[in-house]
Symmetry: C2
Subunit: 413 residues, 2 copies
């Protein structure tokens, strides 16, 4: 498997477009569309928030129903959440219009929205946007990058990653190159419960739809579900994975080495998107990585890592580059899993250096200057060794800054 340049247009058969539809933002692109030349198997994971935005409900119907789709239309600025029957009607009309424009069934058009909860999206702007984008669909890498920028809200960088890998050819002779790429947006209202963001991944791999969903469900718990920015699980979280089968590989119809290669590629792109989102959390100046090792169970390792990554006090301490390491121990202590505090070790890790903060039941003396240097790195890494078993997990978050408060104290205007 190799990382390559690209995003949603890296794989064969996928084209994308974007436009300035003027839905809420002015003077920037705020809509994106991905369309495939052929119908795709589609898999998805969605927010577990009880209050689901209309496009989430729409997508779930298709992903769990038809399990096939050919396009997705996304807008930034307004979430189409808490919009009642009117919100669902907008989804139906958007899909119908897009289907007609692309010559595909309405129910093969998926939808995504992100932004303010409450307001209605004006249908005429959406349809005008779709009409514009239909004309500029392109399979170039630049088109994919432009789409990844158009779906941003408070994101400061666009997120796209792609990989390629080899699979046995359908012809039975030699191998073919399969590609998988994706884009995502997410900056606030980010907390692991599904994925808390919009993410779109495309691949030209030929793979059975049930395995496609299985692979996505296997990869999400260790990637998107391990990031947190502010503990708020959004109403709009959606991750979609489209597979059009155009790579010409022998279709993956059972678990085995080919399925594992596919999962590895999917993990790579999901991991890179997730970690980039965590580091680009609203107002963030640092990525924070919390690695829990030697926990008794995987579930407990996840809970412990997420608790530290989500602690307001740990996040504020990382912003202040203040080695107030008792807060890490405190966040482990209220995470839920049972452990013996006297057995735990906590480390601050650098590229070439580490400091032991806590061992043998008490906070250790440490070199403050060295700690300041490690806390000044762009990525701040903590390792918590539970000394209980063999399970491990990594959670990603970011620091809590003045700018997070600023952004969220006045988001609507």
């Amino acid at each position: 498997m190799r990382k390559i340049t690209g995003g949603v247009t890296a794989a064969k058969g996928f084209r994308s477009a974007c436009c300035a539809a003027g839905i809420k933002y002015q003077g920037r692109k705020d809509m994106a569309m991905i369309a495939c030349d052929v119908p795709c198997a589609v898999a998805g994971t969605f927010t577990r928030n009880l209050v689901k935005a209309a496009p989430v409900t729409w997508d779930m119907g298709i992903v769990y129903g038809e399990k096939t789709a050919q396009a997705v239309v996304v807008n930034a600025g307004i979430a189409n959440a808490a919009t009642g029957p009117k919100g669902m009607q907008l989804c139906e009309e958007t899909a119908a219009f897009t289907g007609k424009a692309l010559g595909i069934p309405a129910r093969s058009v998926l939808l995504g929205s992100t932004g303010v909860i409450g307001p209605n999206i004006p249908l005429d702007r959406i349809t005008a946007g779709v009409a514009m984008m239909k004309e500029s669909l392109s399979g170039t890498l630049e088109a994919g990058t432009a789409a990844s920028k158009a779906i941003m809200t408070t994101d400061t960088v666009n997120k796209e990653f792609a990989v390629e890998f080899e699979l046995p050819a359908a012809s039975g002779e030699g191998t073919v190159t399969v590609r998988l790429g994706g884009m995502s947006k997410g900056s606030g209202m980010i907390h692991p419960n599904m994925c808390t963001m919009l993410g779109y991944i495309t691949t030209d791999c030929a793979i059975d739809q049930a395995l496609l969903q299985k692979a996505l469900s296997r990869v999400v718990p260790d990637t998107f579900n391990m990031i947190t920015v502010d503990g708020d699980t959004s109403t709009n979280d959606t991750l979609l994975l489209f597979a059009d089968g155009l790579a010409g590989n022998q279709p993956i119809q059972a678990e085995g080495p080919e399925y594992e290669a596919f999962c590895e590629a999917l993990f790579s792109v999901c991991h890179d998107l997730a970690v980039t989102m965590a580091g680009d959390g609203e107002g963030a100046t640092h990525l924070m990585e919390v690695h829990v090792i030697h926990a008794d169970t995987k579930e407990n390792a996840c809970a412990l890592a997420k608790s530290v990554a989500g602690s307001s006090l740990v996040k504020a301490m990382v912003y202040g580059r203040d080695a107030n390491c008792g807060r890490i121990l405190c966040a482990l202590g209220y995470a839920g899993p049972v452990f013996d505090p006297a057995q735990v070790e906590v480390f601050l890790e650098g590229e070439n250096d580490r400091i032991c903060f806590y061992t043998d039941g008490f906070i250790q003396p440490f070199d403050e200057e060295k700690a300041l240097a490690l806390l000044s790195e762009k990525a701040v890494r903590f390792t918590c060794d539970m000394h209980m078993g063999e399970a491990e997990a990594t959670a990603w978050g970011c620091d809590l800054t003045y700018d997070y408060v600023k952004i969220n104290g006045d988001y609507r205007s």
Copy 2:
């Protein structure tokens, strides 16, 4: 029941003192002591954080063991948490020294610490402080107020409340006046799981120890456990309730009207302390009150109210006085309890006015100016009507501000 001026010295038999022991803070008082003329029945609730500070472990031993005590010694600045066996040794030595000074058993001396996790407290400063305080113990209201100030850390106001009420006299003729008063501190690392603070309540009521504990355990879930500042459950949370029986009432030995009167008084003081702590959260400019009504169960009402009060996005919106009300709905949605979003109503409440934000499944148009006026009140109140049943709960929190980040980005120094 009447509210009266006072705190821990309001009830007969209790004296307090404080001093500048120089444990971490300079130029201010940082230790307090409460002592009673006679042994007291004692009840307590403690942090559920697995990582418990040494004084918490010490107090739990006595409250669940002897169930009687006569004094408590508290310091601010260093938490004596994550200090291993050395921390426990300090507790033993502090209690032994204090017991000797006051002429009471070491195991009738309870302890409390708040501040930075990790460092050790120098024993000599503690003992010098106790020796000083022993000389200035006083039953005046001023002594109680001074003690409530000495235990502050990042608190901006001291917290003390007291009430008095009538109970049948032990003599069998008429009634006597019983008093109950308390003090608490708490500003950061505040999240409902026990009480997340230090709190000390004294009463001269004669009451059976089992009922004393029962009353405390009944009142805490609706008061201290319903406040949140930052979601971080501290290692040091301790709430102690001392009853010396000197009021001369007929001892309360069974549930009944007298027990109910006692619970009402205890609730009043715990409620006022808790709400004041929420409003004095680190950096806070607003108290936030979230009232959930017509929930299906009490447990669900609590979970829903706490989820809204704890949401970083709701907190930031209250700071920014931005009526981004979809965030409230979002926080209800990820709280856990199952409900139908289309049935919920959300209101912003003022002293004499209210705005309906959400009903019939969508965000309602509202008067922005009126919303700004209501969000500018010192206490911002939301009501969430679930339309499911008869259970209700109220949670208290505060807004998320630049100053929270500032305080916690550089707390140690």
